[in-house]
Amino acid sequence: MKRKINFVNIKWLSFPYLLWMAGFIIIPLIMIFFYGLSSEKGNLTIENIKLILDPVNRKALVLSLLLSVISTIICLILAYPLALILNRTKLKSNSFILLIIILPMWMNFLLRTIAWQNILERTGVLNGMLKLLHLPTLNIINTPGAIILGMVYNFLPFMILPIYNVLIKIDQDVVNAARDLGANSLQTFGKIILPLSMPGVLSGITMVFVPSLTTFVISTILGGSKIVLIGNVIEQQFLKLGNWHTGSGLSLVLMIFILFSMAVLSKYDKGSEGDNLW
C-alpha cells in the first residue's frame, strides 16, 4: 500500500519539467504556428510560408541545405575512420583521446567561432603566419568555406561520439564470426560493421545536419554580411525587421525540412540506437 502511494507521488516529480516544457517548448511552438499562419490583420493565411519562394529566401535556403550537407559529409568522413580506429585499438588512452575530442565543447560556442574569425581574418593569425613564412596569404573569411569550417569544427564531436558509442557495442565475436564464415576484412566491414553502426551514423548525421541547417551565428561571424543563410533570414525578420509573421512562416518551412530529413533517416534507423540522444 505504502509503495503505491510512493509511486503516485513520484509522478509529481516530473511536474517542474512539464511546466518548463509547456512554457518554453509548447507555447513558443504554438506561437510560431499562430504567427506563421496568420497575417498582420489576424486572418488565416499561407502567405508567410509562400515567402520561401521569394528569390532571396529561396537562395538562402538552398545555400543552407548545401552547406549543411557538405559539412555533414565532411564530419562523417573525418569521424567514422577515427571512431573505427579508436574502437579497434582499444588503447588505455582511448578515454583520453575522447576527452580531447570533447574538450572544445566545454568552451563557449560563440567564443570558439569568434576565435576562428580571428584566425581566418585577412589580417588574422593564419595569414600572419603565412606572411612570416613568405607564403601567399589566403582569403578564407567571409566565404562559404569558412562557414563549412566553422560548422565542421563545432559539430564534429556530435558525429564522432554516437558512431564510437555504437562501434564499441558491437560484439567482437560477431566480427570474428564473419571472418570465420569466409569474409575478408573489407567484406566484414561492408557487410557487418558498417550496417551495425548505421544507427550511430544516422544519429550523428542528424546531430550535425540539423544545427548546421539552422545556424545563423556561424554564418554571421565567419560569413560576414554577404553570405546569407536561412537562419540569418529568419533572425533578421524577427530581430531587425520585427516581422514575426514572416519569421515564423519561414521557421515553419525550415521545420518541415528538418522533420522530413529526420523521417528519411529514421526509415533507415531500425535499431534506433540514437533515440536516447534526442
Binding site: 560484439d171 565475436d173 560477431v174 570474428n176 564470426a177 564473419a178 571472418r179 570465420d180 564464415l181 569466409g182 569474409a183 575478408n184 567484406q187 557487410k191 557487418i192 550496417p195 551495425l196 531500425k270 535499431g271
Partner: protein, 358 residues
C-alpha cells in the same frame, strides 16, 4: 601415424601480457572425432580453440591442418567454422541471410544457397524460420541457428566454444543429444570447449582435461572418469575421495592406516601416492565386515541415491549409496580392488599445475 591426424597443435605457447595462458601445448585431433577441451575457467581451453580458429595467434608453436602449417592463415582462409558462446548472430540480418552469409561470400548459386538454408534449418529443427530476425528467437533457437550457419559451409571441423553455456539445464540436455545426432549425421570433426564435466562425459569421443595452460589428461570419457591420472582430474570430473596414501607393494596400498587390495602395480615399494575412490564405488557393509569402520556424520537424499559422509580413520569419506544408513550409525567401509585408482604424487613443475585450485 600422421594419416588421420586432422589438426595437430605443436608446442603451442600463448601469453596475454604477463599471464602465460598456454605453455608448450601439444595436441592432435583425429578426423571425425568429437574432442572436448574440458577445464575450469582460465585453463586455456578457449584460447586453444581460438588459436585453432585463427582468432588468436600463438606466441610459439604451429597449427598443422592436414599436414599444412596454417599458423599464419587468417580465419577466413581456414576450412573450419566456429559456433560462438554468445551465438554471435548478425542481428541486422534475417535467419536466412545469417545462414547464407558464408555461402554468399563463396559466391554459390542462388538455388544452391536456398537449398542449403532449408536443409540446415531442417537439420536443427527450425523449419520456417527463414524470415525471422535473430532477436525474436530464444537462446536455444539462436544457438541452433549459429550451428546451422556454420555447418552449411561444410567445414572439415566445427569448433564450438561453450555453445550451451547460456542455456538452462533442460534445454542444455536436449541440445547435447541434438549435437551428438548432428555430429553423426554430418560426419565432421567436432572440437568442443566446456567447463561442464557432465556435458563432456556425455558427448565426447575424447576428452582433453586442461588446467592452468597444461593438458592434464587425454582419454575416452570412461578412461578419464575411471582412471584419472592425477588429483586435479579426479576432483574435476565427478565427485571423488582423494586420499594421500602409501603404496606398500604391488596390488597393496595403505590408506589411512589400513591395507587395501588394489589392481595397480609398478609404483615401487612404500611410495607416497594419491588414491582416488569414487563415492559410488564404496560399499557400506556391517562394521565387522569392513576394511575400516566409521560413523555416519551426514545424510542427504539426492534422488537417485543417498549422499553420506562417514568419519573413518580421521577423514570424511564421501559415499553415494542406495542403502540408507542413519546419521550416527556405525558402518564398515569396503572397496573392491579395481575401484581403487592409484596416482603418482606430482613431482615436476608441469605436474604442479595439477594442484587443485578452487
Amino acid at each position: 601415424m600422421t594419416d588421420n591426424k586432422l589438426i595437430n597443435l605443436v608446442n603451442i605457447s600463448k601469453s596475454f601480457g604477463d599471464t602465460l595462458v598456454l605453455d608448450n601445448l601439444n595436441l592432435y585431433i583425429r578426423e571425425n572425432e568429437f574432442v572436448t577441451l574440458l577445464g575450469p575457467s582460465g585453463c586455456g581451453k578457449t584460447t586453444t580453440l581460438r588459436i585453432i580458429g585463427g582468432f588468436e595467434s600463438p606466441n610459439q608453436g604451429q597449427v598443422i591442418f592436414k599436414g599444412t602449417d596454417i599458423t599464419k592463415l587468417p580465419p577466413n582462409e581456414r576450412q573450419l567454422n566456429t559456433v560462438f558462446q554468445k551465438y554471435a548472430l548478425f542481428t541486422h540480418m534475417t535467419i536466412a541471410e545469417n545462414i547464407a552469409f558464408g555461402l554468399k561470400i563463396k559466391k554459390k548459386s542462388k538455388a544452391y544457397i536456398l537449398d542449403k538454408i532449408s536443409y540446415a534449418l531442417k537439420l536443427v529443427n527450425l523449419d520456417g524460420f527463414e524470415d525471422r530476425m535473430p532477436d525474436s528467437l530464444s537462446g536455444g533457437q539462436q544457438q541452433r541457428i549459429a550451428i546451422a550457419r556454420a555447418i552449411v559451409n561444410e567445414p572439415k571441423v566445427l569448433l564450438l566454444d561453450e555453445p550451451l553455456g547460456a542455456l538452462d539445464l533442460k534445454l542444455r540436455q536436449d541440445m547435447q543429444y541434438e549435437l551428438i545426432r548432428l555430429k553423426n549425421e554430418l560426419g565432421i570433426t567436432f572440437v568442443y570447449v566446456t567447463h561442464d564435466q557432465e556435458e563432456a562425459l556425455t558427448m565426447s569421443d575424447t576428452i582433453v582435461v586442461m588446467n592452468q595452460g597444461y593438458i592434464q589428461q587425454i582419454g575416452t570419457p570412461e578412461h578419464i572418469y575411471n582412471e584419472p591420472e592425477n588429483a586435479f582430474v579426479a576432483d574435476f570430473i565427478g565427485d571423488s575421495n582423494i586420499i594421500a596414501s602409501t603404496f606398500v607393494e604391488d596390488k597393496r596400498v595403505n590408506i589411512l592406516g589400513a591395507d587395501f587390495s588394489c589392481v595397480d602395480i609398478g609404483f615401487g615399494r612404500n611410495q607416497p601416492v594419491d588414491v582416488v575412490i569414487r563415492p559410488e564405488d564404496i560399499d557400506l557393509v556391517k562394521p565387522e565386515e569392513g576394511t575400516i569402520t566409521g560413523r555416519v556424520t551426514s545424510l542427504l537424499f539426492k534422488g537417485v541415491h543417498y549422499e553420506m559422509e562417514v568419519m573413518a580413520n580421521g577423514r570424511e569419506w564421501l559415499i553415494h549409496s542406495t542403502d540408507l544408513c542413519p546419521v550416527g550409525s556405525e558402518v564398515g567401509i569396503h572397496v573392491d580392488p579395481y575401484d581403487i585408482q592409484i596416482m603418482k604424487k606430482p613431482e615436476s613443475e608441469d605436474e604442479q599445475a595439477t594442484i587443485i585450485s578452487e
